[in-house]
């Protein structure tokens, strides 16, 4: 089983939704249907500059979608992925795109409370559209942005169940009135910047944890970071990996060149061969069997005091 099947898709439309958010529609060049997806799914796009980035699909999807639509917010202070998408991609550009992966699935529930912050609207939009298309009521949306100008899809969310709140006008929205009364018949879905996720997590401490769903692109892990020693098999050198550095960063600091791209455990570029020791895999790219012999250096860490690693070698399956 391949960890991520890769499609070559063509940008059939691109347009600015806001001054910083651009929408891209991706289709098969031959017009074929694309692999299925459901609300909450994302794809990994290789930008023209070579970055690999996860983007949520903004449409509800289905069994045989004709297109994948992603929205990319330009992050001028970022690591270059979003600027490459904005500056280097136009209609007609072909991009390598992974098949959709869904780590934020929409589960059945009598009612929903969706909380989206900024570009976090992307998976939430897919969910709200799916439910409303089915004629479902009880899908309440809180959409938190800075300003009307910076609100993608603003015109879509003006119904009685929608609250669009701009912090430039009215400060931060107090979420407590919406979360004060835990309700087992409501599922909360939240996607947005880390402070919003923290706030919602704190304010749902008295809810059933099974009713609270948070999107996080970086692969789930324990979040623990322990120091350990990596032994680089080609020359036997011992590389100390302190708690505050990734394996990838520690190897580089020691002069060992390892290619990488997303540095969030989703693209697999920095995969290394795992030759000894125990690892907590925090990536979202390796399959169970691949994890026996591989480690994604940007996010995964040793659980034994030492691990032995080396180049991944000829069987690499990344996009390059």
């Amino acid at each position: 089983m391949r960890s991520l099947s890769v499609l070559r898709l063509r940008v059939s439309e691109s347009a600015d939704l806001t001054p910083t958010v651009r929408r891209f529609v991706l289709r098969d060049p031959a017009g074929l249907a694309l692999p299925a997806y459901e609300p909450g799914a994302h794809v990994v796009v290789t930008t023209p500059a070579g970055h690999k980035r996860s983007y949520s699909l903004v449409d509800p999807g289905g069994a045989r979608p004709r297109e994948y639509t992603v929205c990319v917010r330009r992050e001028n202070d970022g690591r270059g992925g979003s600027t490459s998408m904005h500056d280097d991609v136009t209609t007609g550009t072909e991009l390598l795109v992974s098949a959709p992966v869904n780590r934020f699935p929409l589960l059945p529930s009598p009612e929903y409370l969706f909380i989206a912050g900024g570009i976090g609207i992307t998976p939430i939009r897919a969910m709200v559209h799916r439910l409303r298309a089915e004629g479902r009521t009880g899908a309440r949306l809180l959409y938190l942005t800075q300003s009307a100008e910076e609100t993608p899809f603003l015109q879509e969310f003006d119904g009685p169940q929608d609250t669009v709140h701009h912090s430039d006008d009215r400060g931060l929205l107090d979420l407590w009135p919406y979360l004060a009364e835990p309700d087992d018949d409501v599922r909360v879905y939240c996607c947005g910047p880390a402070p919003l996720l923290r706030a919602v997590r704190a304010m749902t401490a008295h809810w059933r944890v099974s009713r609270v769903h948070m999107e996080q692109f970086a692969a789930a892990g324990s979040g623990f970071s322990l120091p350990f020693t990596a032994i680089w098999a080609p020359d036997g050198r011992r590389v100390e990996v302190p708690a505050h550095l990734s394996l990838l960063a520690a190897l580089r600091r020691d002069g060992i060149a390892v290619e990488s791209s997303c540095e969030a455990g989703v693209c697999g570029t920095c995969r290394l061969a795992l030759l000894g020791g125990e690892v907590e895999h925090r990536d979202s790219v390796l399959t169970g069997s691949e994890r026996l012999s591989g480690v994604v250096a940007c996010v995964s860490r040793a659980t034994s005091p030492e691990i032995v690693i080396g180049p991944h070698g000829p069987s690499r399956r990344d996009f390059s």
Binding site: W176, A180, P182, D184, A199, R201, A202, M203, A205, H206, W207, R208, V209, S210, S222, G223, F224, L226, P227, P242, A243, H244, P305
Partner: protein
């Protein structure tokens, strides 16, 4: 190590017990905590009266027992912590800000600064409200609920599984050891993760582990170190957030080669334990027990 004869003014009973008690280290009591409900919030104290063989008053006098476990109303023997809901298994409990008024038995739970439960655990109605509340927080399936455990004269400390004496042991954590662990691992470790009754400072790092089998003074109270405190995953939970975010047990294991942080102590004399009180460790001459 420089050994100093105990000064007249430190503890009158040090003198009374043994003029030969040789002081080997001094520190101070920094903070005192009681955890009235096992697994729920720490409540700071300024001072507390202790008595010989007694525990920390009101510490772990309530617990949320597992419905399918060994606890039944009237159980008078100690049980493993596995029989209770607690941070080791249920880290989200730490996301609640809880306070038990030990005079009235009213439990208040706050989330993000708002009251979400106010229940008099002394009444059937209040206990029922608390059980319903924690059934939801623990995300228990329909038809199951935690048992609100309270047995007069008993406390649900982890050590209670060892017997009725150990049930009343206090836990002491040395802040110098916590700082040493932080420095060695490049982490920030809130000492409240260890949920100890007494935080002390001024002793050398890890020296408290050598106090097992020794008698020493916490403020005006003479205690005996009885056991090193072996740490579990409860310490991985960040106080106040309910997130497991730091592998404290592994950090200790990696840097020290053991799982201990702090010690259990048995109270030997009646007295007042106060914040700011002096900690005096020392030894009697060979072959002579203090006291």
């Amino acid at each position: 190590m420089r050994e100093i004869r105990v000064r007249q003014n430190i503890h009158e009973h040090v003198h009374a017990i043994s003029g030969a008690f040789v002081v080997k280290g001094r520190g101070s009591v920094r903070e005192l905590f009681v955890h009235p409900v096992k697994g729920l919030g720490a409540q700071p104290l300024d001072r507390v009266w202790l008595r010989p063989g007694g525990g920390m008053p009101n510490d772990r006098i309530f617990a949320l027992a597992r419905p399918d476990g060994g606890h039944r109303p009237g159980t008078r023997t100690g049980l493993s912590k596995k029989e209770f809901f607690a941070l080791v298994s249920d880290h989200r409990l730490a996301g609640l800000d809880t306070h038990l008024d030990v005079e009235s038995d009213v439990l208040t739970v706050r989330v993000a600064g708002h009251d979400v439960l106010k229940a008099d655990l002394g009444t059937a109605e209040g206990a029922g409200a608390a059980v319903r509340f924690f059934t939801r927080v623990l995300d228990l399936p329909a038809g199951t609920a935690p048992v609100l455990a309270r047995e007069p004269g008993r406390r649900f400390t982890d050590a209670n599984a060892l017997g009725d004496g150990p049930m009343n042991w206090l836990t002491v954590v040395n802040l110098a050891s916590v700082r040493d662990l932080e420095a060695r691992t490049g982490t920030t470790i809130d000492p409240k993760r260890f949920r100890a009754n007494v935080l002390v400072d001024g002793l050398s790092a890890w020296s408290e582990l050598d106090l097992v089998g020794q008698e020493f003074y916490l403020g005006g109270v003479r205690v005996r170190g009885v056991r090193r405190t072996k740490r579990c995953a409860a310490t991985e939970v960040a106080p106040g957030t309910g997130l497991r975010d730091l592998p404290v047990v592994t950090l200790i294991q990696r840097t020290r080669g053991h799982h201990f942080m702090g010690i259990h102590v048995e109270v030997l004399t009646a007295g007042l334990l106060e914040k700011g009180g002096e900690v005096v460790v020392g030894s009697a001459p060979a072959g002579q027990r203090v006291g």
